[in-house]
């Protein structure tokens, strides 16, 4: 500890801050605030502005033989496509619980991970899934359906070819 001559106060005593320490403190706090702002900016680093991801939109031909309410699950996509009298629709097969892939069955869908069950419209009937399976956007051109896994539509939206 440095003792200021003529007084009993130490340099660490805030009431005795001499002028040259005031300069030092200003410098110190400027640095602290600059670093804090820099740090806040760096918090954005973990999330890239553009994230590379495979395209979520795909095309699929719907076979004549597809019965009403029968699920068509295209290889490599997380969607089940259906057709009935009212039109074509697609339901996401990503479980709303923790993201496993659900499998269509006779009553609707079942999830292998924690046993969630969904009915034919994707509504939860059992298990921990908090929400219904979302319905996906479908656009028709002739026999082909264009499905976008990234865009959801209200449940019950079925599309008929014009």
């Amino acid at each position: 500890m440095t003792v200021i001559p003529g007084g009993s106060r130490s340099r660490l005593d805030p009431e005795a801050t001499p002028r040259r320490d005031w300069l030092g403190l200003t410098a110190l706090w400027s640095m602290v605030s600059a670093l804090s702002f820099g740090f806040l900016g760096a918090l954005r680093l973990p999330k890239a502005a553009v994230v590379a991801a495979p395209s979520k939109s795909f095309k699929i031909a719907i076979p004549e033989a597809l019965a009403a309410g029968e699920a068509l699950v295209p290889q490599g996509h997380a969607a089940a496509v259906f057709r009935d009298e009212e039109g074509v629709y697609a339901i996401s097969t990503i479980c709303t619980h923790l993201g496993c892939v659900v499998k269509p069955n006779a009553e609707g869908f079942e999830c292998p991970c924690h046993g969630s069950r969904f009915d034919k419209t994707g509504g939860v009937v059992k298990g921990p899934a908090p929400r219904a399976l979302p319905w996906l956007q479908v656009r028709l051109s002739g026999d082909e359906a264009q499905i976008d896994e990234g865009k959801t539509v209200p449940g019950g939206t079925k599309v008929k070819s014009a």
Binding site: L98, V101, P112, C113, V124, G127, P130
Partner: protein, 511 residues
């Protein structure tokens, strides 16, 4: 020969001894003083104090669990560095490189097995070590901070296991991490129900932070890899250093007040205490807080750490190594097929120590994956600050109630967990009874929260009955331990495809 040559050969002959002397100043640890210099002259050893209490060296005092954890960590460190020579952190290459390590690299499979087993041994030991510190009431003043450091170590140990789990990029890894990342996202269960996710989405943020992308892909793998091989091990070493240093600064390990009567006079050979007059005077002593040192008399009932403590530590480390190597010889680390994002493993199981959590998560993602773990961590952290008593420190099941209380708590803990599980497995839960029920109801009222409430109520009752916070803590800790065991065992052995309960894997449907 010239005298210079004689001297040269003399020096050459003396070189090995002198190199040793240069490294370990003070000479062979044969007297009390050189045994001390051996320790405080060495940057690693001086984390220990120079003398250690005889109480601490008794096997039941620690069961060597902290050192066993340390040893397991050192083993993963060495084998992990060796694995890094071949491992490639890029999706399909990762899988291929693990395959190479397993089938092509000489001793690669052995190293991988040891690494995997040592990681498991480390998790087991750290849990047992925590239970030891708890049941011997060793977390009390002045050791509260070391208990908190210990909780940091526990989290880091589990974090290391979880991040390591993704690296092989097989089906097991991919789906465990998909589930883990979505648990991080599960605060959405609440924000969605309140319809505020658009503005306030901590769940989405956590998931994005972990994965660096919307999918479990190359960004996620490089993040997990970096955490696994750099960030978490460095943090662990950092905290471990503090942990060990604090043990010394807290006056060694916790002991009962009447430790001298309990121990009785030492049997057999005792090294003399401070038979030589000190060479230095320690002015530092003037500014170190503490009780007055007992001037003129040696510290009672202590023995030099070198050799007593070190040989005990060495023994535990050798035994831990033996166990890891033996396990690695008899059992291979698993490697399933290459990760396939469109077909989940069925059942998709996390590593065993997370299966209790997975069981909870199968009731509600947020409650099981974040809510209850947070409550448990908070509760654990508060223990040393709520229990300010002194009866029973340093003794197994010390404190009001003691072992009989723990026995009853075991009954309550196992009984409640089994009853709640049996109920759910037999009759299902709210959503099956009332399909229209809101998600917030399921999040708040589910088998996990009910079990937590039962345990909490029981321990509050214990606090009242024994008029002691320690009694409540003994009950609560024991109950949660039972709950953890029951849920983990059910998740590991009794859950099959679609997370359906089966008495044995032989009953699983074939597909």
């Amino acid at each position: 020969m010239t005298s210079a040559m004689t001297e040269f050969f003399g020096n050459l002959r003396a070189a090995p001894r002198r190199i040793l002397e240069a490294a370990f100043r003070g000479g062979a640890p044969t007297t009390d003083r050189t045994r001390s210099t051996f320790i405080f002259g060495n940057v690693f050893l001086h984390l220990h104090s120079v003398r250690v209490h005889r109480w601490t060296l008794r096997w039941p005092a620690t069961m060597g669990l902290g050192i066993a954890t340390t040893a397991a960590f050192l083993i993963t460190l060495v084998t992990g560095v060796l694995l890094m020579f071949y491992y490639k952190p890029y999706p399909e290459a990762a899988y291929q490189s693990i395959k190479d390590i397993h089938f092509v690299v000489p001793t690669g499979r052995f190293m991988r097995n040891i690494h995997r087993w040592a990681a498991n041994v480390m998790v087991v030991c750290v849990l047992l070590h925590m239970a030891r510190a708890f049941y011997t009431a060793s977390y009390r003043k002045p050791r509260e901070f070391n208990w908190l450091v210990g909780m940091g170590l526990l989290s880091l140990t589990l974090g290391l296991s979880f991040t390591g789990y993704l690296l092989p990029w097989d089906q097991l890894a991919y789906w465990a991490v998909t589930i883990g990342a979505n648990i991080a996202q599960s605060p959405r269960e609440i924000t969605d129900a309140l319809e505020i996710t658009e503005w306030f989405d901590p769940g989405g943020f956590q998931r994005a932070l972990l994965l660096g992308s919307e999918i479990v892909g190359e960004e996620a793998l490089i993040r997990f890899y970096l955490l696994h091989v750099m960030v978490l091990p460095l943090a662990l070493v950092f905290l471990m250093t503090i942990h060990f240093w604090r043990i010394r600064k807290d006056g060694g390990l916790a002991r009962p007040d009447d430790v001298d009567q309990r121990l009785g006079p030492p049997e057999g050979e005792v090294y003399p205490v401070f038979t030589q007059a000190p060479e230095k005077t320690y002015q530092l002593a003037a500014i170190v807080r503490g009780r007055t040192p007992a001037v003129g008399s040696g510290p009672e009932n202590t023995v030099p750490s070198m050799p007593h403590l070190f040989y005990a530590e060495l023994g535990v480390m050798m035994f831990t190594t033996l166990v890891c190597v033996a396990l690695a010889i008899v059992s291979d680390a698993p490697l399933k097929e290459l990760a396939n994002p469109s077909v989940p493993e069925n059942p998709a199981k996390a590593p065993w120590y997370f299966l209790g959590l997975q069981e909870l998560v199968s009731f509600s993602a947020f409650t099981g994956g974040i809510g209850i773990p947070a409550i448990v961590l908070l509760g654990l952290g508060l223990i040393p600050f709520l229990d300010r008593e002194s009866a029973g420190t340093g003794r197994w099941f010390g404190g009001p109630g003691g072992w009989p209380l723990v026995q009853r708590a075991l009954l309550v803990g196992f009984g409640a967990a089994l009853a709640v599980e049996a109920l759910v497995i037999r009759f299902g839960w709210i959503r099956e009874w009332f399909p229209a029920v809101g998600q917030l109801v399921v999040t708040a009222i589910n088998p996990g929260t009910i079990l937590t409430l039962i345990y909490g109520a029981y321990s509050v009752w214990l606090v009242k009955r024994h008029n002691s916070a320690r009694a409540g803590a003994l009950g609560l800790f024991t109950c949660f331990l039972c709950g953890f065991l029951v849920l983990t065992i059910i998740g590991t052995y009794f859950r099959g495809p679609n997370w359906v309960f089966y008495w044995s894997p032989a009953d699983w449907p074939k597909h």
